[in-house]
Amino acid sequence: MRSRNNVGRAVLLVAFAPHCSAGVFSVIGSQSGSWPSILSSAGHIAGPSAVADILVAPSGTPDSPEWRGRVERGAALILEGSSPLATAFGFRPEGEIAPVVHLVDVHNPKLPIVWSQPIQIPRYTIPGGAQVFAKDRWTSAPEIAGLRVGAGAVLWVAVNPGVNGYERFPYLPQALNDLGFAPVWRASGLWAFFDYSYRTRADPDYLAEHWRKEGISALHVAGWHFYDPDAGRDEYLKQLIEACHRHGVLVYAWVELPHVSDMFWNDHPAWREKTALLQDAQLDWRKLMNLQNAACVEAIRAGLKQMVARFDWDGVNLAELYFESLEGAGNPARFTPMNDDVRREFQKQAGWDPIELFSTSGKSRADTASLHQFLDFRAGLARRMQEDWLGTMESFRQFRPDLDIILTHVDDRFDSGMRDSIGADAARVLPLLDGHTFSFLIEDPATVWNLGPQRYAEIAKRYQPLTKHTEKLAIDINIVDRYQDVYPTKQQTGTELFELVHMASMAFPRVALYFENSILKADLPLLAASSAVVTRYSKDHDRISIESPMDLELNWTAAGALVDGKPWPAQSAATVHLPAGAHIVEQNPKRESIHLIDLNARLISAAYETGKALAFQYASDSRAIARFDRKPARIDVDGAPRESKCTTPGACAVLLPRGSHRVRAE
């Protein structure tokens, strides 16, 4: 179950260098270590050293005028540990060797960065003018430092960054960014969960603008706060949804049945779920209701219908619709369901009351076969609930035809204990994709949050045989404090987070993050880059060749752009939006009159019809949002005129229908 644990406060470092751009990196020598993982996850791509913008010199690299010359001319050089090359730049091991286990990093000085084991590291002297990014907690010995040299920069780390790249120095990508080597591409398709209780007095426009900049395309808003009508809260949500739409962010209602709302729990004590100790099932923050009680279900259905109708939602996320808890039958105080309806139904089928599994006196059943009989029944019950509620959500399309539907379901393929623990059985649910239109968002169970980013490729592989609708699969990354003894940080941040997001983006067409307020500030500037997947990139003067399996935004500050030789209308002041595939991007000295500055959908094609009219095709499971740099005089969707309501000066957002459509704006 999700934790509402949040994060510590982050402190942002003010970058002290002008921003260069970096696309290609190369590791000198044959031992690349984890540098490709680190740099790829933060928006860079491996390439030949002759054209690399970022060079990595492992420990022991000999000094060479060539590398120094490259730095002077604008390359970034990453130096690892001690080497003649590091010595040439002034990074020398001159002090006593001492164990290092705990770092303080300027990007988040309050966050303890603790290594799983101490490492013996000599104390280094660093050149004058170098900025220390990370130091030893106890001795203040520098462990990461950097400085600008000529047109380039040097980033030095005291030891190699570990086998996976995130065990020791979480904020290497941020340090590189501070030195001016920012990624040149980004993607804007992330989903993020949102709990309003942490943001009650925030300015919705401020938040929405920042979310979009951070690569977020849809916000999944905790719906239980808005289940019961309340003038103040309703007004807040309406403003939030409007602000999100203005800034190109879609908004989904995140529903956590069997939790409905606090008021619903208080008003209907008879409909409360029971644990195996027959207590009311208030577990952590969730107050669970009995979804096998017909009256209860009808009441919830009516309430949800009203909630979906009351707000301008783009979709609904039916999340974690099964039972409790991760401790399974081993902890009866948290085991559900054990309400009277369930017990009656099971007893009718099996001939005995499931409470006997947990009785310590009177009738009791301690045998494994009995337990499994009930657990099978329970998994079937979960499957039935999911189908019923999916049907309910689909019925809401009668009044919200563009409503997208997501089913968030914990992974039980990678951690196969989930079926018995909480009744989650993906193999039974995934066939529903054949008859229903929804996306299946796979949630990482807490039990595997300590495993590395490579798990996402493995999870994807295990789901592919279960459905032919693999384009409907998505993955959810929980960014929270983990209960396991994990290192170097309790919560995923820096390189670990970027690797998680990057690997997940490679394995799944959609990645969700839980939750927007738990992502540490230091990570926000690089989040969009980490979610981008680029398979080929080269730059020859002002001509860029790039290939990606996903929509991509390429940094672009020239007046106009030619994509594959044609004037390109999907361009903002800072980027060009490219559809998936291979493209050549070149400068266009001429800037046309209207631009599509942002599109929250998959871009299929785009072109200028005349100097004053552009056309593009898109595809989207939900509504799409197109933002123009001015209010179009006329918009047609598939030839039919569509109204545009613009309130923000300089940017006009237009909501478009779900599906595949052609849009013309002039």
Binding site: N5, V7, G81, L277
Partner: protein, 662 residues
């Protein structure tokens, strides 16, 4: 009418409010921050900054600002309520924050402000009732079912939030006992113990968390522990809480052992602690060997021998050899132990070695480093550490061997450090040691550049209390004589070849004597030369080679017999007191010097006193033994019979000292 003091923050606050008006919250926050720095005592600035932070959704930073505003103006109940609400939403150290929120609401609901009182009362009720219900629910769960970690932990957290601290502490303890590998629970227990005023309980929890188990918990505990080393009773309290903490047992055992060697603890205490380790971990042969040796030292052979026999039979050879040594048995050649050998002690000797080293228990550190080296002979960093450890134990011969091994490492950092240490140590232990020193000096009084130097090779025969040597000295100057009607030579202008003996240094003092020949480089004349004397040098405080700044006193005293000066005995006493400072790697000593020179023959030129200021500095990037001295002295001749000069003089001197040893 008195003029109102200008508002130091007025201009910055104007910018802040202007930014707020156009919803540029980031700029507004930055300006409020600047204003708060200008006028740190103004609660209203903090309050406005907190509201701006809420606008960008940074509740945590807003909470901190409201907290500061509340501290500055406790009467502002509105601010206190804001702070309490945000504390209640906190996620870091949530139970403690929520408890703080509850306490604030409880306080304000008793206040005279009607609105604040009503808000606080409602908030208190919203918090307290669910807490009370939750506590009752989990207590019922625990009463009716087998206690689980999650039930106890949940109960502890709710009890902490409700300030039921005894219940919280007890529940955290019980939860930890069910899952003792979850050391982070001890940090929470420490927090509760502190809150209920049980400082010893808090220290016990932190000490237990700081040793063994989760590195993160250990580091966070270390941050909260006092800097001093823990007392024995604190170890015992921690072990009462965490009896399965092997690392803690071991550390206490070795602490008691070290204390017993200094008569600060009884041998019996150490024995008992080692016995507990051996009872808990029968394969910890290092501890078993230590226990057996302790029994043996207490003439308790009946207890010692079964244990020692077991160690001899099963332990690695290094440990077994220690037992053999204690039993006066012949040692066996140590073989490298295969990896995953069953007799590997179930702890990491490297970790224990580092801890012992840091705690200053160098004998233990050496023992553990040797064990670590045994496990990993290829690890040059261990050899380096052994070098430093044996060096600190004054076993320089062993240190030199370890540094020699370490300097062959492929690791550049290790080899660099080891090379430097080897280079520093080797000359003191080599059979032949050659030293060169030179000291060119300009004197304004004589308007002359003097040159002094010596090249000396000693033979280091370790068993002899003295060292024979051969030497070539140089004494000369550029001007040669004072000129005038009765010119005087300003130096010997000669090379002096000699052979002699010198004693070893004892507390800064040594004696020497040599016989040789002086050869004038002006005219080639030769004459016999015998010289000898005693020399003493002592520096107290920060020398010019010290890494830290500080005061120093330096004293040099020489008594030198020189046959060529009519068998005169010259005596010098040079004393300097001053301060050593480091300016970006540039070492500078600022001092005042007081010098006395006198002789047995009472010649005017050898009897004078001097006093005056000076500087000595060591430029960065130059060899460590190079120093440049600049100084001015005011001098007075103590004898003026035959003195052709004025009785007083002022002399500016500039000299460069350089020496090296091979």
């Amino acid at each position: 009418m008195p003029k109102a003091a200008p508002d130091a923050a007025y201009a910055v606050l104007t910018h802040a409010f202007d930014a707020l008006r156009i919803h540029d919250y980031d700029a507004a926050i930055s300006f409020f921050g600047k204003a708060a720095a200008l006028v740190p005592g103004r609660a209203d600035i903090r309050k406005n900054m907190a509201y701006a932070l809420l606008k960008i959704g940074d509740s945590e930073a807003a909470r901190d600002q409201f907290g500061e505003a509340m501290r500055l103006d406790p009467s502002d109940l509105h601010v206190a309520l804001e702070y309490a609400f945000l504390c209640y939403e906190a996620t870091g150290e949530a139970p403690a924050r929520k408890a703080e929120a509850r306490r604030i609401f409880l306080r304000i609901r008793m206040s005279s402000d009607t609105d604040a009182r009503a808000t606080a009362a409602a908030a208190f009720e919203n918090i307290d009732s669910p807490l009370a219900a939750g506590i009752a629910r989990w207590q019922q769960v625990l009463a009716n079912s087998r206690p689980t970690f999650s039930a106890l932990y949940e109960l502890a957290q709710l009890a902490e939030q409700r300030d039921e601290l005894d219940l919280a502490a007890d529940s955290y303890k019980r939860a930890f006992q069910l899952l003792p590998e979850r050391k982070s629970v001890l940090l929470e227990l420490a927090r509760v113990e502190k809150a209920r005023g049980n400082a010893e309980g808090a220290t016990a929890a932190l000490l237990a968390a700081s040793r063994g188990g989760e590195t993160r918990a250990a580091e966070l505990a270390r941050e909260q522990l006092p800097e001093r080393y823990p007392y024995v009773y604190e170890f015992r309290n921690a072990l009462a809480l965490d009896p399965g903490n092997d690392a803690l047992h071991r550390e206490l055992a070795y602490l008691l052992l070290a204390m017993s060697e200094k008569d600060q603890a009884s041998r019996g205490d150490a024995e008992q602690e080692f016995k507990q380790i051996v009872d808990r971990s029968p394969h910890d042969y290092l501890a078993a060997a230590q226990l057996g040796i302790l029994y043996l030292a207490g003439d308790d052979n009946a207890l010692a021998m079964p244990i020692l026999r077991d160690v001899l039979a099963h332990a690695d050879q290094a440990t077994a050899n220690r037992v053999r040594m204690a039993l006066k048995m012949p040692l066996l050649l140590e073989e490298r132990r295969p990896e995953n050998s069953p007799d590997v002690a179930p702890f990491d000797p490297r970790v224990l070695a580092e801890r012992s080293y840091q705690a200053g228990f160098f004998k233990d550190a050496k023992r553990y480093f040797l064990a670590a080296r045994e496990q990993n002979p290829a690890d040059a960093s261990i050899a380096l550490k052994l070098g430093w450890t044996t060096n600190l134990l004054h076993d320089d011969a062993a240190a030199l061997r370890w540094f020699d091994i370490a300097r062959r490492s492929d690791d550049h950092a290790i080899s660099t450090e080891a090379n430097r240490a080897y280079g520093n140590l080797r000359p003191g232990l080599a059979l032949f040691r050659t030293t060169l020193w030179v000291y060119p000096l300009f004197s304004s009084r004589w308007n002359d550049l003097f040159g002094y130097g010596q090249l000396k090779t000693e033979v280091n025969l370790k068993k002899l209390p003295f060292r024979p040597y051969v030497s070539l000295r140089f004494v000369g100057d550029a001007r040669r004589s004072t000129g005038g009607v009765s010119p005087e030579n300003l130096s010997e202008s000669a090379f002096i070849f000699g052979a002699g003996v010198a004693t070893r240094y004892w507390r800064g003092a040594m004696a020497w004597f040599e016989a040789g020949t002086t050869v004038s480089y002006l005219n080639g004349t030769r004459s016999a030369d015998y010289r000898g004397g005693v020399s003493y040098a002592k520096t107290i405080g920060a020398s010019i080679a010290a890494e830290h700044s500080g005061w120093f006193i330096e004293s040099l005293a020489d008594s030198v017999f020189i046959s060529r000066f009519s068998n005169d005995l010259l005596n010098y006493s040079q004393n300097r007191a001053g301060f050593t400072s480091s300016l970006g790697g540039f070492k500078v000593q600022t001092f005042w010097s007081n010098n006395l020179t006198f002789d047995a023959k009472k010649q005017y030129w050898a009897n004078f006193v001097e006093t005056g200021p000076g500087f000595r500095f060591h430029p960065p990037g130059t060899p460590p033994s190079l120093a440049i001295t600049l100084g001015v002295v005011r001098g007075v001749y103590l004898r003026n019979e035959g003195n052709p000069h004025r009785p007083n003089f002022i002399d500016f001197r500039a000299g460069i000292w350089y020496a090296f040893t091979k």
